[in-house]
Amino acid sequence: MKHDDVVIAGAGMHPWGKWGRHFSTYGVAAARTALADAGIEWTDVDFIVGGETVRNGYPGYVAGATFAQALGWSGARVATSYAACASGAQAIDVARARIMAGLSEVALVVGADTTPKGFLAPVAGDRWDDPDWLRFRLLGATNPTYFGLYARRRIDLYGATTDDFAHVKVKNARHGLHNPNARYRKEVTTDDVAASPVVADPLRLLDICATSDGGAAVVLCSADYARRLDDARPVRVRGVSTVTPTYPNTVIEMPNFATDSSAVVTPSDTAFRDAIAAAAYAEAGLGPDDVDVAEVYDLSTALELDWYENLQLCGVGEAEKFLRDGHSTIGGRTPVNPSGGLACFGEAVPAQALAQVCELTWQLRGEAGDRQVEGARVGITANQGLFGHGSSVILST
């Protein structure tokens, strides 16, 4: 039987930090929390999707089966999703599509990772045909290189200041203070940011998110199944965007050396990050005015400002004003990153798009405690995965 509506019946996380355990440990903990939250037994799940990580040896490449085995083989259907930072959203998309098609009723989506210290870097070995390897060898271009380029553009195009960037960190640190799953729970001042060393001019250490261990999971089911569970707090999945860029993509993106050429084909009016949000809005039948809360990808403080505009929470070039006016702070017009964002969590790549969905689930149920956005009924997540993976999820009550 086909289903029109898919709901999030359960959400769970393993606290983020530098724990040094196997990634499946975090995934299983998050999965069990999500299953308990949903009131569903693991053996009732008929489909499991794992967000893949590529840095942890063989099991990381077959994450769905690794989690399934760790939870105890149950005969569930299985899939594994790799979309870099968008892995979790793509995994939700696959689970949701299977439920909508009537091929599954209850799906468990899990992402977890353990990360090394320092910069995210390519795996070892000489790979002269891999742009991600080549950008390190030939340019020394780390991820913050690209964040620095975008930040500098905001300064020169829109008059952003490094103080604006620091205020994003201050805001997110304050949001995350009471989040039990966050790694960093400490007030940060603009002076603290200014006193931290420059990593990629104009960005400083406290402008750039850390790498972390962590796990997140959600249980999806059909609305019919949720009714049988007597779920009094259903959160509906309204749209999932996994779009790729449209040629020519004229913004330089990790891990590329160059943009596409616009010499022959005129670029679309909608740039890639804008298109990620636009596709989610279109699928949900909702618009930016409907959004009460957003979880966006603050890989750098300056990048969060870009997302305000990409999500159309404000006009192009107006993100600094939106921030300064307090609109993106809890209590403001559209609070952004009430969880504390990556500023408080750090990156655990296959888990973070799922962590965003967990936070919105709690926000829409009114279960977010001291970081609750009052009256939140519609939430949007946004991030972007390396190699052209779009990711945005819209949820509503």
């Binding site: 340019l139 620095g148 990593v199 010499a263």
Partner: protein
């Protein structure tokens, strides 16, 4: 990093740039739709224009001057496979440069001796070839962007 007579200069990557008759990036141009591609595609790669079915390209020298789209630097030593050239590590700057005639933006390190304080969005730069790193036999050459003299 001094160049010694015993080392042979070679490109750090094959086929992406040339030194003669003057330094230039070597891209490719689709023989059907004229779309420009950089880095040059490997054999039998299809044209990136999704409405073009061709997989045939001709070599195309990119413009050797452009304007800075944005810039940054690397204050921390990048991890391998980056090969550091000094100990202790010395930061370097990078610029993404808009090559207007080719319709694309190319990332590169900034020429030796220049840092972010020498750069601005919109500034004109010229392609130069410098040594990226050296080993016993070779100086491995790479393209870099040099701010034009009268602006700094």
């Amino acid at each position: 990093m001094s160049q010694t007579a015993s080392r042979t200069p070679i490109p750090a990557v094959d086929g992406w740039f040339e030194l003669e008759p003057e330094p230039a990036l070597i891209g490719a141009r689709c023989v059907e739709c004229s779309t420009v591609v950089f880095p040059p595609p490997s054999e039998s790669t299809p044209c990136p224009n999704p409405r073009c079915a061709s997989d045939r390209f001709e070599s195309h020298r990119l413009a050797t001057t452009g304007t800075i789209w944005s810039y940054t630097d690397a204050q921390y030593q990048p991890p391998p496979p980056y090969i550091p050239t000094t100990d202790p590590y010395e930061p370097f700057a990078l610029a993404a440069v808009d090559l207007a005639d080719d319709g694309l933006i190319v990332l590169g390190q900034v020429a030796e001796g220049f840092g972010v304080d020498d750069l601005a969005v919109g500034m004109q730069v010229t392609l130069v070839i410098e040594t990226l790193y050296s080993d016993d036999q070779h100086d491995h050459l790479m393209w870099r962007w040099r701010p034009e003299g009268d602006q700094s």
